[in-house]
Symmetry: C2
Subunit: 249 residues, 2 copies
């Protein structure tokens, strides 16, 4: 990319990355949303995805830790609260997204301590999550913000997931889906803010290319997690040593 | 330190560091609180200290970015809000400590943009602040938490400062002191939490020694800032190139 794009053309380039590489296109998600997985496979997905949920507030804190602009820090800190929840008295004591994720893993019959310690997670899941935290800590601020922009593509996958999983799995109820219902609003608001930031601050061809690459990187972070799940729990079904094994396998 | 200390002996060792090295013993603070500085020197102090205030939420975010324990993250995130303030609607839109610090620099007649850009700050101030952020990002979690423990010693210096500055300087009023009044409560609460954490988690002689060293390090961060101020604005009064020069000097 050698010419400076207009902000709208930059947005289009970012959205094109999603159209090509967002993990809604991964075969594992097709299976998950289409009701093609058994309970053990859905458990494996939920406990691995917990690692990602738990990494997100650390990623957002890493971003804040490098921002000199107080207005940006103030606009970003609610993401930490959205995921971690807030203690009683400060913001009303909301539970947060991680707690809502644990409601899902509870509903799937997973032991909460086992989930939280991440002992059964696939190493590849954890490597992908840590790569994301490191990226946000080390790259330019525009890249760090841009890497959040997969949220632009999230609401449609969440809607598809809620409908598909509720319809397909008798072991999934409305309560277990509350994480995704809540993210429908949060992700829209957050993505709008981050997209405006990137469009305003990526003001050279190099910065714009890096911002698009950051979205590509983040798609890879998400995709790699599903590849690892697919390999371990679908085909060929080769669970690495120490990782979660569904009952009866 | 080769034997394991009891938690109370560890606390005593940490408090001993404060008794020996906290910056309330620095000659610059004696001058500041005793009414011995002129307005230009107080301006220099306030605009340099702004760098430290602005670094603190980044330091706290750096800490959160490495914490896997959600309960600890939830207990720490209010520090970011305390300093940065919170946007309207999420926690009532409080201004935060940095805004209160800017009320002080306003009252001293400093231009707000000049303060926020930190252009006039001493390089040594900024180096000390960045060393603090890096320490919290890179050392063990116990050391990172322990480095906050100078807050144990802060309330007495704040009380001394409020009384001394209000009495001594006709250019300082009650409103300019609101930062310190507010910190009286916040620092107590935060220090109690951090001290309990360090006493509980520093469970080897090496970890205990490192925790005490972290408090020493932090005292050095504070002390070095006053050394630089003293050298530039008191004796010998050698202002480095590009740094703030009080009017008429």
């Amino acid at each position: 990319m050698s010419r400076l794009l207009t902000p709208d053309a930059l947005e289009a380039a970012i959205r094109q990355v999603g159209a090509e590489r967002y993990h809604d296109k991964h075969p594992f998600h097709r299976l998950l949303h289409g009701g093609k997985l058994d309970r053990g496979q859905v458990q494996a997905w939920a406990l691995n995805r917990y690692c990602y949920q738990a990494g997100v507030p650390r990623k957002d804190a890493a971003l804040i830790s490098r921002v000199d602009d107080r207005a940006l820090r103030r606009a970003w800190v609610h993401r930490i609260l959205d995921h971690d929840g807030a203690l009683e008295g400060k913001t009303g004591g909301e539970d947060g997204g991680i707690e809502r994720w644990l409601v899902l893993t509870d509903a799937l019959g997973l032991d909460r301590d086992y989930v939280i310690t991440m002992q059964g997670a696939l190493p590849a899941t954890r490597f992908a999550v840590e790569a994301y935290v490191a990226f946000v800590r080390e790259r330019t601020l525009v890249e760090a913000v841009a890497s959040s922009l997969t949220e632009l593509f999230a609401p449609s996958i969440h809607r598809e997931r809620i409908a598909g999983m509720l319809e397909s799995y008798d072991f999934i109820g409305e309560r277990a889906m509350q994480y995704f219902r809540r993210r429908l609003d949060q992700a829209n608001r957050d993505a709008d803010f981050a997209l405006a930031f990137v469009k305003r601050h990526a003001t050279t061809p190099e910065a714009q290319a890096a911002a698009v690459d950051a979205v590509r990187f983040k798609c890879n972070v998400l995709w790699a997690q599903l590849d690892a799940l697919h390999h371990a729990y679908v085909a060929p079904g080769l669970v690495p040593p120490g990782a979660f094994r569904p009952e009866g396998t």
